[in-house]
């Protein structure tokens, strides 16, 4: 199977003392949106810099669409759009001037460059700023412009390193919407972030990195089910009577019941089947169920469980 992005035992050493990446192997399928999370200094940016040809690995290989980035960077980088950290921009140029240059670097024709500049600037909501000096842009606008540069040549793979870093809530929402759009268009997105909320919102797979090693990798669905807390929160239409509470306690799958006014917290074995059966029993017993939530721990809890209390390496 050809992966969109793949790394094989990637190692990056700086000098003799510090190992930033220690045998990182990743396999990202086409169309996947993968979150790459870990504490500061875990090696996220180093991985991304190797994938985008900014750094050479000490050993191991990085492939994009099956092409070795180190051996054939020109071909590999043609299929990548990248936003790395907070890049500098050319303050004295306009978005059109800047994007026009990069369009030529990607060997796009004049007509194609014109069309894509219009399309991408519209997508990132900068159409009205096409001919304005970049130096007058806000942080959020700059970030959207660099995303426009990353997708100008319609890459198959988009690599985003901390794309919402330093943005205000509105800026974060805009970038999140863009990533959702890319996901819906079938683009492969590799998103490095330390903001777990962002990752949980847009990614379907998460890779956890710590001290230069992959410590866990799983789909968001499986992470969600792993972290179910064996608790169901049920809200009823009106406060429960003593009889109704007894009826609840009588349901064999429920281990304990904690009632508070019109809500009940039910402890069970945590199996999805059990959860379904409990709901069916509630309905068959004529309970007026307003909401039924299987409580699960968030990605943060999962993160802490796989990372432990340790901090990053540098």
């Amino acid at each position: 199977m050809e992966y969109a992005i793949r790394t094989e035992s990637l190692v990056k050493r700086y000098g003799k003392g510090f190992t930033a990446l220690d045998g990182v192997s990743l396999q990202i399928r086409k169309g996947e949106v993968v979150g790459y999370v870990g504490p500061n200094g875990a090696g996220k940016t180093t991985t991304i810099k190797i994938l985008t040809g900014l750094l050479k690995p000490s050993s191991g290989h990085a492939y994009v669409n099956g092409i070795d980035v180190t051996a054939n960077p020109r071909e590999a980088l043609r299929t990548i759009g990248a936003l790395i950290e907070v890049p500098g921009v050319y303050d004295y140029l306009t978005p059109r001037e800047m994007l026009n240059y990069f369009g030529k670097v990607y060997r796009m024709s004049g007509g194609e460059i014109d069309r894509r500049i219009k399309e991408t600037l519209e997508l990132v909501k900068l159409s009205d700023w096409e001919h304005k000096k970049i130096g007058t842009f806000s942080t959020g606008m700059l970030r959207r412009l660099t995303i426009a540069k990353a997708i100008l040549h319609k890459p198959d793979n988009l690599i985003l390193d901390e794309p919402v870093l330093g943005l205000d809530p509105e800026g974060i929402r805009d970038v999140r919407e863009l990533i959702r759009q890319f996901r819906n268009e079938g683009m492969t997105v590799f998103l490095s972030s330390h903001l777990l909320g962002e990752v949980a919102e847009v990614c379907n797979t998460v890779v956890f990195l710590n001290k230069g090693k992959v410590v866990s990798s799983d789909s968001m669905d499986r992470i969600g089910s792993t972290m179910e807390r064996k608790v169901v929160d049920v809200k009823f239409l009106k406060p429960l009577s003593r009889d109704e509470i007894e009826k609840l306690r009588a349901i064999e799958l429920i281990k304990s019941v904690d009632v508070n006014d019109n809500t009940a917290r039910l402890l069970y074995d945590g199996q999805p089947d059990s959860s379904v059966q409990i709901l069916r029993r509630l309905v068959s017993l004529n309970f007026d169920v307003v909401s039924y939530n299987v409580e699960s721990a968030g990605l943060e809890d999962y993160y802490i469980s796989v990372m432990g209390e340790e901090k990053g390496g540098n």
Binding site: L54, L55, R74, A82, Y92, L93, E97, Y106
Partner: protein
């Protein structure tokens, strides 16, 4: 074979794109305008005292050209490499299908072209001045040789500053160090060697003396003490050696700068 040819073609085109992009940046930041204005205004200052002959007038005007070339080299090449890393624009331009060598070669060529433009303008203005003051017939025939020498010194000066830009971290440092190296340090070494009666033939700023010395006027001679305490020896750069030294500085500065730039990591 075909792949290798394709790679070369792509590298050449990427270098061309980089040159164009740099020149556009020079225009947008008005750096090119400033240097062009200097090239036009400085020769006009020499109207203050007009000598008897066109040769002496050209000599006077060209004496200041070395300084302008160094200023231009520092302005355009000072941030060529370290500026990319310092301003983090490398994070935009490097993860693209172009080699770093093409990007940096483009930057060197653009800085050189900007400096050559300064030199060209300077000579055009000076030639027009000579024609106006002494008549077209009085234009020294050696001016062409002087012009070519000025172009070579430009390549050397840009190469030297480019090298500093590749080894230093901040644009301001490489600009100042490059300028001081060419304007002060080399001239001090030149002065010391002359003082001990050694011809500083390997110093590029000494070779740059050819810009005026090819005109055959006396002001371009550098005096050092001879063997006896009271005698002075006049040094003037040998044309062939001077040209070779300037070419060497240009090639070594550019090649060493490129090697450092390509290896440079954040």
């Amino acid at each position: 074979m075909e792949i290798a040819r394709d790679n070369v073609r792509n590298d050449v085109f990427d270098t061309y794109l980089s040159v164009k992009f740099e020149l556009m940046k020079y225009l947008k930041t008005r750096r090119l305008l400033i240097i062009a204005a200097l090239a036009v205004i400085v020769p006009l200052i020499f109207y203050v005292k007009v000598p008897d002959t066109a040769g002496v007038f050209a000599d006077n005007v060209l004496t200041f050209l070395n300084v302008l070339i160094v200023i231009s080299a520092a302005m355009f090449a000072g941030d060529a490499v370290c500026g990319e890393f310092e301003k983090k624009t490398n994070l935009l331009s490097f993860p693209t299908p172009q080699r770093r060598s093409s990007i940096f070669a483009g930057k060197y060529i653009a800085a050189l072209l900007a400096t050559l433009l300064l030199v060209l303008l300077y000579y055009v203005v000076m030639t027009l001045q000579i024609a106006q003051l002494y008549g077209w017939g009085a234009i020294p025939t050696e001016l062409g040789k002087s012009f070519l020498t000025a172009l070579l010194f430009s390549a050397a000066a840009v190469g030297v500053v480019f090298f500093f830009s590749a080894i230093l971290k901040r644009s301001i440092s490489s600009t100042i160090v490059g300028f001081l190296f060419l304007m002060v340090i080399l001239r001090v070494v030149e002065g010391i060697l002359t003082r001990v009666n050694q011809e500083p033939w390997f110093i590029v700023t000494y070779s740059a003396g050819l810009i005026t010395s090819v005109l055959g006027t006396s002001s371009s001679l550098l005096f050092g003490r001879g063997e006896g305490e009271s005698t002075l020896t006049a040094f003037t750069p040998h044309f062939g050696v001077g040209i070779a030294v300037m070419v060497a500085y240009a090639i070594v500065g550019f090649a060493a700068g490129m090697a450092m730039a390509i290896r440079k990591e954040e």
